[in-house]
Amino acid sequence: MQNRLLSISEAARLLGVSIDTLRRWDTSGRLTSIRSGPRGHRFYKQSDIERFLQEIEAMARDWAESVNPVKPNPDVYCQTRDVFQARLETLQSKLSKIMSIETVSLIVAVAGEIGNNSFDHNLGNWPDIPGIFFSYAIRNRKVVLVDRGQGILTTLKRVRPELTNSRDAMKVAFTETISGRYPESRGNGLKFVKSIIVKNPLSLYFQTGNAQLYLKKKDDQLDIQQAATAIKGCFAVISFEELS
């Protein structure tokens, strides 16, 4: 089964991209096809597709940790909020074909809140590359969102100067109504994300600075750990394996 050949439309569906994107990736060598049949149609090895799906998270992490970063591939890069909104709506429409509207609503709300948080808190203050890395693998039921922004500690320190580490800052962001955008009074983004994750079969991996968090259904405590490698901004992976 592993090396079954898939048609370009099957591969596109598994990867959540268009057929045109796959043709472009083939030309650029990013994901190569096998030409077969009298008319040279493109086919893909199932193992290549599986490997590519695993790579999305690795690519995102490379970008988050990179010391000399470059702009990510245009397919996964949202430099502005408008691009993010359009791609979020595309994700919504793709998920709607395979899941109930209730489920789609939750996944897109969590992704939308995390992605927009990156723009809200870094507008005009991006340390190097502006915008976010936004990618998803519908087959693997994962959405990845990364920014190279200032991170939660720097943002919240403006209103909570007593915060000294990412761990405490992350805890505040996930449990209290607070905004780093003083004098705006509201800031519920990550608290909202937490309220959805703990009540539904969704899980979240979130890292900012050197603090990381795994959150899943029924978690009543935040289990924040020290991450192996620190990052500047925020790195989030939303998983929804059990949802249909």
């Binding site: 789609v104 897109v108 709300a109 939308g112 927009n116 809200d120 519920n188 909202f192 959805i196 009540k199």
Partner: protein, 89 residues
């Protein structure tokens, strides 16, 4: 009067979009007859987040208070958003 939120889109997630919706709707709100209920109809909205709602629903409720009535709020992200917003009221 009734505000059909889906006329602002089906994916209402960002703060700037919520703020823009609020500003764009001011002329209509100015014409709302006194003492008439302001019904906010969520039908057709697929995704709502607190960021968008904070910029539209929060000022709407501050301005019209008890006159605001929310209907068709069954969708899960709408429910979760309203719960968070209500906690802070």
């Amino acid at each position: 009067m009734t505000i059909d939120l889906n006329k602002f889109g089906t994916t209402l997630v960002s703060r700037p979009a919520g703020k823009e919706a609020w500003l764009a709707y001011q002329p209509v709100l100015k014409e709302a007859p006194q003492n008439e209920k302001i019904i906010v109809d969520f039908s057709g909205v697929v995704v709502l987040t607190p960021s968008w709602a904070d910029e539209f629903l929060t000022p709407l409720r501050e301005k019209f208070r008890e006159r605001v009535e929310l209907i068709n709020t069954d969708n899960p992200s709408i429910k979760a958003t309203l719960e968070i917003l209500n906690e802070n009221r």
